[in-house]
Amino acid sequence: MEKKSVWKKLTSSRETSLVIVLLVLVALISVKNPSFLGMQNILEILKNNSVIMIMALGMLCVLLIGGIDISITSSLAFAGMTVGMLFKNGVIHSMLLGFLIAMAIGTVCGLVTGLIIAKGNVTPIIATMGFMYIYRGFAYLVANSQWAGADALGDFKNFALESYLGFGLVNNVLIIVLICYIVFFILLKWTKFGRNIYAVGSNAEAAEISGINVARVKISVYTIMGFLAGLCGALAVTIYASAQPNMQQGKEMDVIAACVIGGVSMNGGRGSVGGALLGALILSVIAKALPLVGIDALAQNTVKGFIIIVVIVLNVVTQRMMDKSNLERREM
């Protein structure tokens, strides 16, 4: 077996094209605005997009099994709002407890969604559309026409301001993001569960016959997604120092967009943690860069959508070129 050269390995990977896109974007922006590349600015961008970045990991798994989940920001709001109200009403004071409760709520939300999809055989987009309304509704019910501001949150909001998890160098939130990415990288690359996710997404029938419990894999994936949404609920509350029932509404599309830009297939079976990360980064850079280069706020959505389309077309073209070069190797 021939060893591939490093160069060949690099050029035959979809991630490379994404890295190039990202570098070009960054280069263009820093020409116009040199302050963009400052360490402080970069860390700020990462922190502000940490919720999207973390949820992209869960969405990656969901898309890998050929599903989709548009209820995530609703369960995020439900979890975040509940924790916010608990602090506001003085029921809890411990930060750790706040995180645990949010994660527990998200996990249960995800589990229920997964059960309905896997056991009830409901199409994922339909099921999660229903839950999108239900969980968002719960957030409003919990809020009961109130919201939790910075004063009400007390110490909880300080989590996103401090950096003790990062030994005083890196913000706590970014450490959480980092841990999530390491865990998911290992999970998808080197564990049986990760392999099962790819198997179910590539060919559910073959997976079933190979003795993989397809329903269980599906339920687990939606549960994991819910867990991350819950975690992000707590994170969003501390980052923005407020809990509102409409928090992050509509951002589920950004999460899906991040994955799609990162080359994750909507048909399942294809995608990687690296891709999801790059997708999320490209999306964050675009969002931050548009005002920096002087694009009018009114035009920003249009430009963003346009860039997404361009990146995805580029992505499809590279994929095709890769498929073609694979075919060339095929013996007939």
Binding site: M1, S202, A206, I209, G269, N326, M332
Partner: protein, 509 residues
């Protein structure tokens, strides 16, 4: 006027990196049925696609009734009266038969589709073919044989003068094939010239007057069917002699391993009892739709039986899902390798180890070295032609894919029973012989083997015992010595025959 309706000379088709066709030639006489044979990957399908304008040849010329033609795309070929019926019906399952037949050449008046006329026209075409379904039936509700008829009707509706059939009998039972033969005869009598691709020798002998053989992208020769023997033809196709296609070893059969007792599933099969012993190859045959696949699916936990018992080594077992079956050592090699047997975009190694990943997990992580070593060893055991374990399964031919599925079964070292559903479907002669050899080897090692098959020669050639099913019931059991093609067919159609005669009697009374 030329002697040939279709003539191709020196056709070369190059795909990136490979010569799929190397200066091949072909001549089709008016009104003849011409078989095109060769192993998988010999270039037959590519050749057909050159004729139908899907691919453009780099070199070579094509003549239609003596005049040189140059097709830019499939539409040109269609307009010139060439129609192809592909192996897997390329139909729209949610549309009606009429819509499928007239797809892309609807009958229109002032831009509006004339449904009534189209349905009438479709009715006429289907009548010509003695079809037993309505033009308004939904395509997806039809059997493969019926769908194929629709494809043929579609070819007729374009008033094709040359019809190409690509492995039309691969998915058909003996009965359905017979019906197809009659349709082909009829087309020929109507003056249509037919090119016929098939792996089945029966097809060729029954239909064709001449046969052209391709091997390794090259033209080997054209022969008159009456003048070439089976052995010679195989030799031309594979480039070597296959001395014994069915290397059935003599194995001392051991104790009973799997026993199914009065198994029933409403609407699919009823009171099915069968057993298989260690080292025994049991053939399970019958017409497609007789319930063979459904029975083994229940045994493997893919579906649930309503009543009945299953015993493994004398103990009653309850298989609720495929995981249970796997844990008990019952392995199914599904009929549709591409859909249910393999994950095509994955490397071979990963496919093989999918059911046994647990073995390589240490501290929650997969030990990839161990995984690779085992899959490599197993794949070498079944001798796939793959270069590495990282090659995607999609890059292999049907026969080699089947070998990978076997390797995947072998990976499960608690395996006791192997159930093979149509193990050689769509596989060429050379690979067939190898798969039979592997089956023999498995029997020697003491595995109990159930082989579902519609192909008479392999059922007769490989089985120690044969069960025949008809309409959901086992209608006969035959030992190796006493089985003949006639007896099997008799059992396979028993119930149909009884029912029909019963109806007749009622009519008389």
């Amino acid at each position: 006027m030329s002697e040939y309706v279709l003539e191709l000379k020196g056709i070369t088709k190059i795909f990136p990196g490979v010569k799929a066709l190397n200066r091949v030639q072909f001549q089709l006489k008016p009104g003849e049925v011409h078989a095109l044979m060769g192993e998988n990957g010999a270039g037959k399908s590519t050749f057909i696609k050159v004729i139908t304008g899907v691919h453009k040849a780099e070199e070579g010329e094509m003549f239609l009734n003596g005049a040189k033609v140059d097709f830019k795309g499939p539409r040109d070929a269609q307009a010139a009266g060439i129609a192809a019926v592909y192996q897997h019906p390329t139909s729209y399952p949610d549309l009606t038969v009429t819509e499928n037949i007239f797809m892309n050449h609807e009958i229109k008046k002032r831009g509006l589709i004339q449904w009534k006329e189209m349905n009438q026209e479709a009715r006429k075409l289907l009548d010509q073919l003695d079809a037993d379904f309505k033009p308004t039936a939904e395509m997806g509700a039809l059997s493969v044989a019926q769908q194929q008829m629709v494809e043929i009707a579609k070819a007729l509706s374009t008033h094709a003068k040359i019809v190409i059939l690509d492995e039309p009998t691969a998915a058909l039972t003996a009965n359905e094939s017979e019906k197809l033969y009659r349709i082909v005869d009829k087309l020929r009598d109507d003056g249509v010239s037919i090119i016929f691709i098939s792996h089945r020798f029966e097809d060729m002998y029954r239909l064709a007057t001449r046969v052209t053989v391709f091997r390794d992208s090259q033209y080997i020769g054209t022969y008159k069917v009456d003048e070439i023997t089976n052995a010679e033809l195989i030799k031309q196709m594979v480039g070597r002699e296959i001395t014994d296609l069915f290397p059935k070893p003599d194995v001392t059969v051991g104790a009973e391993v799997l026993k199914v007792e009065n198994l029933s599933r409403t609407g699919y099969y009823k009171n099915v009892s069968l057993h298989v012993r260690a080292g025994e190859i049991v053939g399970l045959t019958g017409l497609v739709g007789a319930g063979r696949t459904e029975v083994v699916e229940s045994v493997c936990g893919l579906t649930k039986a309503n009543s009945g018992k299953v015993y493994l080594n004398g103990n009653e077992i309850r298989v609720k899902n495929p995981t249970d079956a796997k844990n008990l050592g019952i392995v199914l090699l599904p009929e549709d390798r591409q859909k249910a047997g393999l994950i095509l975009e994955w490397g071979l190694g990963r496919n093989v180890t999918l059911p046994i990943l647990k073995k390589f997990v240490k501290n929650g992580m997969i030990n990839e070295n161990e995984e690779r070593n085992l899959s490599k060893r197993l794949l070498e055991e079944v001798d796939t032609k793959a270069v590495t374990i990282f090659d995607p399964a999609s890059s292999l031919s049907g026969g080699n894919q089947q070998k990978v599925v076997v390797a995947k079964a072998l990976a499960q070292d608690n395996m006791k029973v192997v159930i093979m559903d149509e193990p050689t479907k769509g596989v060429d002669v050379g690979a067939k012989a190898e798969i039979y050899a592997i089956m023999g080897e498995l029997a020697k090692q003491g595995f109990a083997i159930i082989m579902i098959s519609s192909e008479m020669p392999e059922i007769l050639g490989m089985s120690d015992r044969i069960y025949v099913m008809c309409n959901g019931s086992v209608t006969g059991e035959l030992k190796r010595g006493e089985a003949t093609q006639e007896k099997i067919l008799e059992y396979a159609m028993e119930k149909n025959a009884n029912e029909k005669s019963a109806v007749k009697k009622e009519g008389v009374n």
